[in-house]
Symmetry: C2
Subunit: 763 residues, 2 copies
Amino acid sequence: MAISNLLFKSFPPLHEPKLTIQTNRSYDYHSNKLSLWCNFQCKNRLKTDNSTTPRSKQPSLFKDQDYKVSWQEELKRAYPFEISSTHKREDEEYLQELVEKRCVENVRMLIVDSVQHAKAGHGGMALGMAEVAYFLYGNAMRYNSRNPKWFNRDRFVLSAGHGSLLQYVCLHLAGFQSVQIEDLKRLCKLGSRTPGHPENGVTEGIEVTTGPLGQGVANAVGLALAEAHLAARFNKPDVAIVDHRTYCIMGDGCSMEGISNEAASLAAHWKLHKLTLIYDDNHNTIDGSTDLTLSEDISARFEALGWNTITVDNTQGNIQAFKNALISAYSETKKPTFIRVKTRIGKLSKKEGTSKAHHGTFDEDDVKQMKQKVKWDDREPFHVIPMVYREMQAQTDLGGRLEEEWHSKLHYYQSKYPEEAAEFKLLLADGLLPGWESSLPKWSMSDPVDATRGYSGKCLNALAKVLPGLIGGSADLASSNQAYLHNLGDFKQPDSPWGRNIRYGVREHAMAGISNGLALHGGGLIPFAATFLVFSDYMKNSIRLSALSRAGVIYIMTHDSIGLGEDGPTHQPVEHLAGLRAVPHLLLFRPADGNETAGAYKVAVANRDVPSLIALSRQKVAAHVEGTSADAVEKGGYIVSDNSVELPEIILIGTGSELCLCEASANVLRKEGRRVRVVSLVCWRLFDRQPRDYKELVLPSNVSKRVSVEAGSPLGWKEYVGDEGVVIGIDDFGASGPYSEVFKKYGFTEENVTKTAKSLLSK
Amino acid sequence: MAISNLLFKSFPPLHEPKLTIQTNRSYDYHSNKLSLWCNFQCKNRLKTDNSTTPRSKQPSLFKDQDYKVSWQEELKRAYPFEISSTHKREDEEYLQELVEKRCVENVRMLIVDSVQHAKAGHGGMALGMAEVAYFLYGNAMRYNSRNPKWFNRDRFVLSAGHGSLLQYVCLHLAGFQSVQIEDLKRLCKLGSRTPGHPENGVTEGIEVTTGPLGQGVANAVGLALAEAHLAARFNKPDVAIVDHRTYCIMGDGCSMEGISNEAASLAAHWKLHKLTLIYDDNHNTIDGSTDLTLSEDISARFEALGWNTITVDNTQGNIQAFKNALISAYSETKKPTFIRVKTRIGKLSKKEGTSKAHHGTFDEDDVKQMKQKVKWDDREPFHVIPMVYREMQAQTDLGGRLEEEWHSKLHYYQSKYPEEAAEFKLLLADGLLPGWESSLPKWSMSDPVDATRGYSGKCLNALAKVLPGLIGGSADLASSNQAYLHNLGDFKQPDSPWGRNIRYGVREHAMAGISNGLALHGGGLIPFAATFLVFSDYMKNSIRLSALSRAGVIYIMTHDSIGLGEDGPTHQPVEHLAGLRAVPHLLLFRPADGNETAGAYKVAVANRDVPSLIALSRQKVAAHVEGTSADAVEKGGYIVSDNSVELPEIILIGTGSELCLCEASANVLRKEGRRVRVVSLVCWRLFDRQPRDYKELVLPSNVSKRVSVEAGSPLGWKEYVGDEGVVIGIDDFGASGPYSEVFKKYGFTEENVTKTAKSLLSK
């Protein structure tokens, strides 16, 4: 093991199983936190005595004499003064400090080279936080770069996503196949594995897609929540199979965004003590010094939220304080930990400490002096000291051993707790029990009417019984949204972390960001997030990121039109269906009755890498509109009824609560001898994806008389009604009043649909 | 003056003019804050000695003997025990306390009656906060209900907008014509002046539209910012013509929303000490006790943000502590004040103290016992004790006198500072200097290319010279957005409150909410708010509220497509143009060059009650695409070029940076002998509003071969290209890479447009 790793790696693990499991490993990393802390203090007092630590038996990489000599050579080049005396050259503890320092310098040089090569990227934060990231990847975090998806790895989120380069460099040095030197050279190039901001779908080793500031903080809370929840459900007194930490780096921008405050408030309320948020306090944002816009005491704010807060000064590159802060974080058992790390943006550069270092390339002169500063001047760009790889490899080697051990544990778990093991494995496989769909309720025409939010509540509760991963909640509208899993408890620490209802409070943005974390955790959770459709506004960017990062979140959005009535225009969505339909990949459903609601859930659950949004009514509609079908929902659009033998004269197209208006109007017209088809267009995107023949079958091009009826913006409907068709929609804000009167005011009545259809037919 | 008012009204004003202006009024309300505080203490010690206060000459309404007797009768009914002895009946101080208590009970009864009558509404918060609202309207706030728009009134925002009923009742009692008893009876009815949530366009006396939680806090910060800014620009050592306070009530929901934290952080940074935020700490949200979701110490959080914080307990209806808190707020000269008022939701009801009281009607039994509790049982619904009106009228009488005095001051100001007075009056008239448009720059084809964000920056700076109300800023992207007013300073207290650049930090949501406050302040400010288009996501609800509440905010959204390049899909808007076009009333412009950018500003500035959003490119485009016109922008769409004598064979429709692709392709096609028209559709909504003939002229129905080119979601374009047309758009996320490569990947090249056009022409 590398000397630089020993300082930290020799400690017991950052996990807390209650009992030790005997394995055939030569090391034992189970111990309690107190001893972790004691060992640390011990080691600091007795610098040369590694025998007191559980890992003292691990070979030091320095026992390889060639390796040691190579480092000595490198250190002589880098720090001739420091390394001048023989004594110092042989002091392994001291050498190790210098090794660490040199590794960080290599990180910085790779950052500078990448930015210069790409003529793009954000070097400033990356340079300032090099020590922290290097230490996290090199010493603190548990992962196996050979298997980036190992379940029990620690999770890392770079909320300040513009610092992606820092993460790419660390991933490269840590041995992740996804980032080779060639990839660093292709930073921000089209099709590269090193895009401008980290994308989980693009680069292995990236957990979540970040960039829009603050989102990563919510994602990290979601990852930590997933861990706490699954640990509570699956760990046993004698074996812990879910046991990892979550780390997140955020910058000043993240800290200013409201979403991070919302998420941080929840993290403390939920006592997510295995979450560590590292705040890069570099005192700069794009526009200049934070003095321009920030007077608050951020640590005090986090303390007020209920966090364990620690401040460390890394402006001089001393990593010791940060190490100590992590130790403190590990020993904290109730609160998440906030580590404020004071850094210098653009460290080494002439622009150091100023917002000019935030992004963009460096002057040639500047690059020259940076390289001189760290004795790098004659080296080719993208040079890596070979020993740096070996230093980092020790961490992934450790991760590999931990993974093996985890498999042993899982084996033990499986033999002792077969039932739980089966469920756990099912979750990890992101699998769904065969036949889960059959649990969805079915409605007949004789069933009592309800709002689609009511049918949704029944679907959700039925699914919860067969989908162990289903978990979620509402932003303080659980009963209004009917999004509560009965008898499955509220997630709460320490009382009921196994609870599958999440109480988000009035924090829509954090709810969605946390849901993304839950979905991308890899623990098989199927998160749902509920509020009124109009408040999708508050979480729009997180919904977008669900789609971009392939997080299969199910958004349950009730009160989906002016039909919500009395609460008035501030609460009545109008433009929202259109705006959300435009989000790439997102599946937006607006079911018309109970069965279509069930159909929407069927598609939403089945598509684990696509988010779905189900728009649901507040007002009551038929349980089963004759002709609708749960199975047909997956086609996005289908014929609900038609009295014509061949082609209809007119097609009425509806969604959601307005489908019944189409049906009612069709019945009137049919009585008058008209051939009328009614089509449900429950999910545009799915319909658009159908083969041309199917689409032609449902909406034959020869039938140009078409009317669409949806209580929302008309935007986009022309696609389906065509040039001659008429769109009945709303291009204004709604109004406060009883729902039926509001509907009437805006033309959503059978009479108006019929009148419009007749006028079209008479053309 | 009513005795209940005396306690407070007899103090000097809540304003801080440096010198006293002699007027012919018999009262003098100019004094400094210290004496205000001293007087208060004095009064409390020497209860019967009103002579020490500046207003002791004001007649007490109790000097009207009939009035006093009427109150004594009412108090005997209400508090027979308290009022039993003669001594007590004659103790005016004591009587006054009881009068106040009775007034509050009347407020509560009106709330209950309204909810029962409407079978809708949110009674819980209104009942709990009755004392606070009554005291604000009855004693603390300066306004004139006979002229609700009097400029120098105090501003009040109900961020917890679901408590609208509380405000309606107070407006009614305070004499606002907009809320009569009949209006209370029409609560939540279609077309009423008392909609479910407060709407400034509907009810006079409502400053801003609230309901979506947290927005009001940002609005209030905007109102206070407007005051601080205008005061700095116009007040003189000898006369203050801008001088009012801003009050805001928020609930637990508001406090949880990220936007309120963002706005509060800015309020403290800006030292908006005349802003008082009153937090209704009733420990409940819709889903239950706040214990479910909230562990933070909210006061400590506000302290960390830099606020003066005070906690008062009003659970027993004792208003004295709240009065003291207001006094403290008035004497604070650096920090905004946060008053945490502990209350009981649903006060009086059996549901008191529980989330069940949040909304909905009360059981008949419950109503009965509530009325019994306050000795109201035999009274008709909607009963108002006549003396309550008179009590409240005293406040508006004071407001009326203050308004008169303000006019006198204005008169004095006008004579002494005619230049400033002219500018001030221009602002108040929401007027624009005739010919302001001519300041907008014009570009010719020979001008150097730039991004439309660059042209925008020039327009903005040119406008700033002729529009004294133009003020605004960016969410930490001032230089990227080119949204900075050069040489006009940053708003900063105490250094430069006259500065017209606002540094929002990375707080998009608060920026938009604050901008709404600036626009609705009535001081003639024309706020602009800038960020990347993709981050419109973070402020979507505030943008919606700009449109709903007719706030003429100008949103400057740069980096408006995948054309931004390297930052990748997290920063590349795709669905945003579609989603924002669907927002009712909002004018979305996507100008193609310098002149269209100027045209967009011309319409945006001229429309003071409609928000505009100008989407601008990061990449460079021609300064003047031949055929474009600034003046034509107001039509939303127009012909840019056409080589056909009568009708073209094909129409290419573009917006923004893609218009030049249309032009380039048209030129290729024309060289091949094709008759091609190019249309700029710079603002859909404005085009849609044109007369049918004009639209037919631009897009003749006989020309069915049309191609639209826009680097955004295809959603909605079918409206303009028709059934046979082709939409070149993006239905996927973008990619990180140099802009030209990204554009090519997604088909945004002259070659692809030409190919598409040819394929259509050959059909």
